[in-house]
Each structure stands twice: as C-alpha cells, then as structure tokens.
C-alpha cells in the first residue's frame, strides 16, 4: 500500500464520495449499533445475566433459534428441489414459478402474516381441513414453522440457482460415461458442487428466520414460554419501557446469530476451497 490510504486511480470523486459514504454508514448503521452494544452494560454484568436468566427469556431464545434452525433445515431440500426444477425443468409457466419465488421476499411481513393466518386458521382453507381432527396449525408451533419456512425459501433457491445454472453438462455426462447411475451422479458429482451454495442459503434463511417478526406474530399465538419468539419479547420489554432489558435480549440474539453465521461461513469457505 506504500502507506497510502487509497491506490492512485485516474477516476475522479473518491474524496467526496467517500465522505458521503462514511457519514451515511456512521449515522445510520455504526452509531446505532454501537449504542446497542454498549447499552446493556448499564445494568452491570450481574444485571445482564439476571435479565437473560428468566425462564421466559430462555424459552423465547430457545424457540427462536430452535425453530429457525429447523425451518432453515427444511428450506435446504425444499429450496434445492425448487431451484433444480426451475433450472433444469421445462414446463409451461416456468418463468411465472420463478417469479413466485421472490414473493416472500417482496411481500410486507405483516401482509404475509395475516395471509398465512387466514390460510391456516381453523376456519381457513388449509386449517379447516385438519381442524376436524383436533389439529391446530395456527396459533401453535406448526404455524410458526410455516411462517419461517415461507420467509426463508427465497434465500436458498436464489443462492443455489446460479450455481446449478453454471454447472456444465459435461461433468454429469462424463460421470454417466464412466458408468455412474443418476442417484450416484447426484450424490457424488452434483451435490458436492452446490454444497457451499446450499450452506450459504441455509445461513441466510436461518438469519432471516431468527429475526423474523411480522409474519410470525400473527400466526404464533404468542403464549409466553410456549409460542413467544425472542423479537416479540424485545417489543414487549420496550413497551414496558425496559430499554436496557430489551437491549440485553437484542444483543444476545445478535451475538448468537452472528456466531452461528460465522460458523456457517467458515464451513462454507472450507467446502468451497475443497470444491475448487
């Protein structure tokens, strides 16, 4: 670097653009997140721990992270199937189906929440089918799972799709000429190539699910200790003006999910390196 901050370049405008960027990032992202990182410690270490140790908090964290992991795990095979069909399949309406994938991403979460609730409530199209058997979908665990799978699906599909598209036909053809049967080709040739992308998609779906609020709270039932997700508990603490308590829970959530994302990234990088 020669001790220089920016490598010389004939293009103009780095100074002003960098100034604007720095102000923009600092004011909207850095300063607020710093406030979040520091605020919990106003309670002291013991206060922070006490705030986390309540059974209600632990239950909420367990629910949020457990359900999100499960939802992301469901999204992996589901997203792979959808991506594979969209890339390799040829059927009428393929492009429409492709556009549908982004809907959970584009639909406002509150709208998704009441739409899912309408569908899965005991008097809804799907909820009504199982209600006679005494099965509750909405206002219970299954409802939460449906909402989280819904929210995470585009992330897996959209990360796997381009990789699947770039996979050359030759590789599979060579495997076939060497005597591999289709399931063997899938497991030994295709899967290793897309595993890093699948893992990335898993991480993104998981991160989205952990933080998800709007699409879950309508369908979840929100029973403390049972179907109360961690983001909702943050909102509740804020409504009780327990700002430090809300910050503790928020920071704990962020740390947990960043740790998990970090682990997923590490694994993904290792896999990607091996695949190369």
């Amino acid at each position: 670097m020669n001790g220089r901050f920016v490598r010389p370049n004939p293009l103009p405008g780095f100074g002003p653009a960098f100034g604007v960027t720095l102000a923009w990032v600092a004011l909207i992202v850095l300063i607020p997140l710093t406030a979040l990182a520091l605020r919990p410690w106003s309670l002291g270490i013991t206060g922070v721990l006490a705030s986390l140790e309540s059974p209600r908090v632990l239950a909420a964290l367990k629910l949020s992270f457990g359900a999100s992991l499960a939802a992301a795990a469901i999204n992996v095979p589901l997203g792979l199937l959808v991506a594979w069909v969209l890339v390799r399949g040829r059927f009428p309406g393929r492009q429409l189906a492709d556009a549908l994938v982004d809907l959970p991403f584009a639909l406002p979460t509150a709208v998704a929440g009441i739409a899912l609730t309408t569908l899965y409530a005991p008097n809804g199209w799907i909820g009504g089918l199982v209600a006679p058997f005494g099965i509750d979908l909405a206002y219970a665990m299954p409802g939460i799972m449906v909402a989280l799978v819904f929210a995470g699906l585009p992330y897996v599909v959209r990360t796997v799709q381009p990789v699947l598209m770039d996979l050359p036909a030759e590789v599979e053809e060579v495997a076939a000429t060497l005597g591999a049967r289709p399931p063997q080709i899938l497991v030994r040739v295709v899967l290793p190539a897309i595993l890093p992308a699948l893992l990335t998609g898993f991480g993104m779906a998981f991160a989205r699910a952990v933080g998800e609020y709007g699409s879950v709270i309508f369908i979840a039932g929100n029973m403390p200790g049972l179907t109360e997700i961690a983001p909702l508990l943050i909102v509740i603490r804020l409504e009780q003006f327990d700002y430090a308590g809300a910050a503790v829970l928020a920071l704990a959530m962020l740390m947990l999910s960043f740790t998990m994302l970090g682990a997923v990234n590490l694994l993904q990088q290792r896999l990607a390196r091996r695949a190369r």
Partner: protein, 277 residues
C-alpha cells in the same frame, strides 16, 4: 434448460410446484379472496377512514425520504467500493451489508436506545424540541436502517463486472467528472439502479418490525400502512385490514413484475459487455 441435461422427472416438477403453490401462492390467494369477498364497495370504504388515509400518507412520506437518502448514499458507496482500492474496503462493505442480518425489531430498537429515555442523543433533541421516537423521524430512521444495503448490493457486482474502461475513455476524451458520471457511469447502471430503488421502495413501504418499535402506535399519527393493518386486524376490523393488506400485496406484485422486466434488461446489458470484451 440445456437440452443435454436429463429431463427432470414429472414428479419432481409437480412436487416443486406444489411446494411453491402451497407455501407461497396460496396465502396470497387467500388474502385476495378475503379482501374481494367483502365486496369491492366495502373494501373501498376501508380507505374512507381518516386514520387509514393518514397511514397511507405517512407511508408515502417515509418512503419519499428514505428512498432518496439510501439511493444517494448507496451510489456514493458503490462508486468507492467498485472503482477504488482502499484500506478498509472489505470492512466498509461488511458494515453496509450488516443490516441484512439484523432483526427488524432490533433495527428499530437501536433508535429507541439512541433517542429514547437516557439515550445518547435524547438531551440534544429535547433541547431542540424535536420528537424522534414515537414520531415520523423515528419511523424514517428505522426504515433507513432496514433498507440500507439495497442499492449497493445491486450496483457493486454490476459495476465491478463492467470495469472502468468506459469511464477512463470518457476522461481521455475530455469529459469533466460530472459529465462522465451523467453520460457514462449512470446510463451503464440505470436498470440495476432502478431495480435497487424499487426493492428499496417496496421494503420501505412494507416494513413492519422496525417501525413497530419506534412508532408508539398513535392512531392517525404514527401508524404506517403495515402498522395500520395490524391495528385494524387486532380490532376485529378484518375487512378494512384485508383491503389495506391487499393494496400492499399488489405493490409487492407490481414490484416483482417490474423487477423481472428490469432484470431481463440488465442481463441484456451484461451480455453486451461480454460481446464487447
């Protein structure tokens, strides 16, 4: 789509379509069915309510502020990141993408911590007599946070793929920095930029979790459309809630359609780059 690939079994196609249909299409269909089931008259009547109109106005106002701010910031950041090599470039990009992995609720919470009771900036805004939390500024700030990376994520990969030769050519032909930006840089990324702005706008108008936290839910004053939907729904005013939800769902569908069309344009643009290279 390569004909050399073995055909996808019809079972797989059906399973994927069933999954997409059941999980994604059906809820939206149920929503529209519910909204339409009230009859058009009652659905439209929902928009006569002054609180609902206020919510629509507030949503438009919040979007009208946050979309340009994040677009300009995103353009400046993309120019730095895609065109220059500088110390801390990777860190900067990480910070810009950070809001994507932060829960919407936390994205709102951070502003309460800054401007709410005992917040760092609370004394300053009190002295100025400005209300931030439980008021429009708070809604704008929360929206800015959640829509922060949209433009950068669209522009940086494209600008890196395009390279800077055209801009250098413009300079050697005597163009001033502004001329270069307006006549070369901006036209080359216009479709991707528009896509980013569309997504940014859709998210800004549809954000729920982050604005929940900073809104304080004052009817007719701090409820944006998604918050108004929740309020109506919890008040058992289902027809009005569904009418407004239908409107937002429509916005999402239009955004997706526009984006698909733009993506097609961008892809054509990159194909051209390939052909020129």
């Amino acid at each position: 789509m390569n004909p050399r690939f073995p055909p996808v079994p019809i079972v797989a196609v059906l399973a994927a379509l069933a999954a997409l249909g059941g999980l994604v299409l059906l809820p939206v269909a149920a929503l529209f069915a519910e909204a339409a089931g009230q009859g058009l008259g009652r659905a439209l009547a929902a928009f006569d309510d002054p609180d609902s109109l206020a919510a629509i106005r507030l949503t438009l106002l919040v979007a009208a502020i946050s979309v340009p701010v994040n677009t300009l910031g995103g353009l400046a950041a993309s120019w730095c990141i895609a065109r220059f090599r500088f110390t801390g470039r990777g860190v900067l990009l990480t910070f810009i993408e950070l809001p994507l992995s932060v829960s919407p609720v936390i994205s709102g919470l951070v502003w309460v911590l800054l401007f709410g009771a005992q917040g760092w900036f609370a004394p300053a805004v009190d002295r100025l007599g400005v209300q931030v939390i439980f008021a429009t500024p708070g809604l704008v700030l929360a929206t800015l946070f959640v829509t922060f990376p949209f433009v950068v994520r669209q522009l940086v990969p494209l600008m890196q793929a395009q390279g800077s030769e055209e801009e250098e050519a413009a300079l050697t032909l005597g163009a001033s920095p502004w001329r270069m930006f307006w006549h070369v840089t901006l036209p080359n990324v216009r479709w991707a930029l528009l896509q980013g702005v569309l997504l940014l706008n859709a998210r800004a108008m549809g954000e729920f979790g982050a604005v929940t936290v900073v809104s304080g839910r004052i009817r007719g004053q701090t409820l944006t459309m998604p918050l108004q939907i929740e309020a109506l729904y919890n008040d058992f005013q289902a027809p009005a809630a569904f009418a407004m939800a239908g409107l937002l769902a429509l916005l999402a569908l239009v955004t997706l359609a526009a984006r698909a069309w733009l993506e097609w344009h961008t892809r054509r643009g990159t194909d051209k780059t390939m052909a020129t290279a």
